[in-house]
């Protein structure tokens, strides 16, 4: 059972492992037999509780089932020409999703707040949702079109390939590039939501809110890609499109800027001006990066999903294009361009992050410039009274005896005998305790 406890203790946070060791060491003092076994079972309960085993197992099961379902629905038949690259994409994506959090946990620590966990979960759900949507789109692109469509109409368009007419082998370079983009995106999300990067939940929330606003407006304007030949925005007409386009440009640069400034402005900062400036920069930077990433992921998932629905469901086609008014070839042309432009969304995952990064740095600079740095007062309050000394974090569980300032108590006995001064203080409390004790 000892090895079991050691393995279990490794699952606990580092600052808690001493406690697992303490329970196990104490078991030697418990009478052998059932009492000792019960003590050790209690120790295992402690490990399970502190290691958050239930949540970990639940998360693992949830991820496993979601990844399995996504992979199963996206897994291509071996008869299709792109089977090798599509399968590599599925396997690579699942491996990235499974392994990168372990690496991030090892290097940067686990997420330590609810917002960080939610952000990670949303990112994972979005990336998994892209798998079946991309599978539908790939199937459309790799299949000869429905009957009654004049293929010559599309052969001349800007070098786009027409389904059934694409030649050549699998596009491994493109596949590797997409996997790299996914990996970079995941690394950014995992790093921002890890404990050691010290991004405040508020900064993550501000960034996510700004990103959702950006993504929603972007999706409203370009729900089916960015091909100028087919605007593909049936719900926006006339001047509304121009208004939304202006809003997109404002939000694209403004959302990370404002998110970075607000997050930097409102974060708690240490007393040291240099550290305070760095803390604001860190929070602002993180919020801006999150806003760009969330915005890109939001519009990528919704855009890819809408495109998949467009080619998969007749009612979506009819609803988006009022298809009865268009010929089959015209509808097909729109579907073709929408599906072939889907890969452009992946560029957003990088582009938005870069824009978010640059604008967030600017936003954090604005926060530092507009809010005075503390001059030795309490946290966040310029000119306040000096705050208390920071309490050092004990390295190995519990509060170390030598962390206290009372040297007399440091010399306290840990023998089992009664000593002088061991009784609680007399007086009112003593009387109260006397009442507790004897009635």
């Amino acid at each position: 059972m000892s090895w079991l406890s050691r393995v279990g203790a490794r699952l606990m946070p580092a600052e808690r492992r001493d406690w697992a060791e303490a329970v196990w060491a104490e078991a030697h003092e418990v009478p052998p037999g059932w009492p000792r076994l019960a003590w050790r079972v209690g120790g295992m309960r402690l490990i399970a509780r502190e290691a958050q085993m239930v949540r970990r197992i639940g998360t693992l099961l949830l991820f496993g089932s979601a990844a399995g379902a996504a992979a199963w629905s996206a897994w291509p038949d071996s008869s299709v020409s792109y089977a090798a690259t599509a399968r590599a994409d599925i396997i690579g994506t699942v491996l990235l999703l499974a392994s990168l959090p372990l690496l991030a946990r090892w290097l940067l620590g686990p997420p330590d707040n609810r917002m960080a966990r939610w952000l990670r979960a949303a990112c994972y759900a979005a990336i998994l949702a892209l798998m079946p949507a991309n599978a539908v789109i790939q199937l459309f692109i790799g299949t000869v079109p429905r009957g009654g469509i004049d293929l010559r109409t599309f052969d001349t368009f800007e070098g786009h390939g027409v389904p059934g007419s694409i030649s050549g082998g699998p596009n491994w370079a493109g596949e590797i590039a997409i996997l790299l983009i996914k990996a970079c995106f995941l690394v950014a999300v995992l790093a921002l939501t890890s404990r050691r990067t010290q991004v405040a939940p508020a900064a993550l929330a501000i960034g996510a809110g700004a990103g959702l606003a950006l993504g929603a407006v972007m999706y409203a304007v370009a729900p089916l890609g960015f091909n100028p030949k087919f605007p593909n925005r049936p719900w926006l007409h006339g001047s509304a499109v121009d208004l939304f386009m202006v809003l997109i440009w404002i939000l694209l640069f403004g959302a990370p800027l404002v998110a970075g400034a607000i997050a930097g402005w409102r974060c708690d900062v240490p007393d040291d001006p240099g550290e305070a400036s760095a803390a604001r920069a860190r929070q602002g930077f993180a919020a801006g990066l999150v806003s760009g990433g969330v915005g890109a992921l939001f519009v990528t998932v919704l855009g890819t999903g809408t495109t998949a629905l467009l080619v998969k469901s007749a009612w979506v086609r009819d609803w988006l294009y009022h298809a009865p008014h268009l010929t089959a070839s015209a509808v097909y042309g729109r579907e073709l361009f929408a599906t072939q432009d889907v890969s452009g969304y992946f560029l957003l995952l990088v582009g938005f992050l870069l824009i978010g990064l640059v604008m967030a740095v600017t936003g954090a600079g604005i926060a530092n410039a507009t809010r005075p740095l503390p001059d030795g007062g309490g946290s966040g309050g310029p000119g306040g009274p000096p705050g208390p000394e920071p309490v050092p974090v004990p390295p190995d569980g519990g509060r170390r005896a030598d962390a206290g300032g009372d040297q007399d108590r440091l010399l306290g006995r840990y023998d089992d005998g009664e000593g002088e001064g061991d009784q609680g203080p007399p007086g009112l409390v003593g009387a109260g305790l006397g009442a507790l004790r004897g009635g």
Partner: protein, 130 residues
């Protein structure tokens, strides 16, 4: 004819700061505030099982009410033991909490963890409050 509106204000009892189990641990530590005590002794005194006692000690240590250290000179052939006692803040908190608990129970019945049994499994533990 007058219509009256009556607004009833009820005094909502504040949430207790410490659970009965935590109070029993505080009381056990409070009995000998300067002495380092080990887990089994606390479990014997309070009647709490290890799976209940140690999470309480962890929370108390997190709040700075209990300090912990490792035994410096372990008995030969035995592992080092983890030892606990109240900090100055813990002493003050325990004093207040135990006094408040005493006031809430004028009959003087001790605050024992409900259902607490001796770790050996033999019967209900002795009252935990000094």
């Amino acid at each position: 004819m007058f219509f009256s509106t009556y607004v009833e204000f009820r005094v909502v009892k504040p949430r207790r700061e410490f659970s009965p189990q935590t109070l029993s641990v505080l009381a056990a530590l409070y009995e000998h505030p300067s002495r380092w005590q080990h887990g089994y002794a606390l479990a014997s005194t309070t009647g709490l099982k290890s799976g209940t006692l140690y999470p309480i000690l962890i929370r108390l240590a997190d709040r700075g009410l209990v300090e912990a250290c490792w035994q410096e000179e372990p008995q030969p052939g035995r592992p080092r033991r983890h030892l606990y006692r109240l900090t100055a803040d813990g002493l003050a908190s325990a004093t207040g909490a135990l006094a408040a608990s005493a006031q809430q129970q004028p009959s003087g019945r001790p605050t024992a963890a409900p259902g607490a049994r001796h770790p050996s499994g033999r019967g209900v533990a002795a009252p935990a409050v000094p």
